[in-house]
């Protein structure tokens, strides 16, 4: 089975800190995604990448950046964390546009 691993289940950070969320997949998928999940809003796409060193903005990229130096790893960066970035963050990967995505277990980030 494809596995998508997010390095932390829970994180607590202070306002203004730089935060790194890491995601690794083990099935050589080209496409990787970062979503945030908030109650009543479903999942919203932050950034995605369809190749190494390639990235595209999703629907809510403000306050975030990403890095994809290797195919298996896709990092989400909060340059200066703010309380409105408190959320559940989900990473996903996909090999092909028709296939269902595989999601990681999520990182619940709290910014205080």
């Amino acid at each position: 089975d494809v596995k998508v691993t997010q390095s932390s289940r829970y994180l607590v950070k202070r306002t203004g800190e730089k935060v790194f969320l890491e995601c690794v997949q083990d099935m050589d998928h080209e496409n990787m995604f970062w979503y945030r999940q908030d109650p009543g809003l479903g999942l919203r796409l932050i950034y995605f990448s369809y190749d190494v060193k390639m990235k595209e903005k999703g629907d809510i990229p403000e306050g975030y950046s990403v890095s994809r130096e290797k195919k298996e790893r896709f990092s989400l960066i909060l340059e200066s964390a703010s309380t409105n970035q408190t959320s559940m963050y989900l990473c996903a990967s996909s090999p092909h546009r028709d296939y269902g995505y595989t999601f990681g277990s999520g990182t619940r980030l709290t910014v205080v």
């Binding site: 479903g42 546009r97 999520g106």
Partner: protein, 114 residues
Amino acid sequence: AQSVAQPEDQVNVAEGNPLTVKCTYSVSGNPYLFWYVQYPNRGLQFLLKYITGDNLVKGSYGFEAEFNKSQTSFHLKKPSALVSDSALYFCVLRWVDSSYKLIFGSGTRLLVRP
């Protein structure tokens, strides 16, 4: 604009009874439709998808969904609910020109009581 709607925040059903979780969509062009389930404190798990072909799609854990183009719906169904089906369910849309992006519904919480 492309969109997907789940009109019910929560669905309650007794164990053993049939369940339906509703989803409607709006898209120009042909839709790709998915259902995902999320158990507490976990990531999303793929249940089933409609790409083309038969309108009735069978998926994991006994779930199925019916694609209805005229009503632009993709309702999730199961003939006999289990308590363990209690979870958060998301209807998800892609379309031919969407590149790799998904649009998620707001989610429906299913509660199956014993």
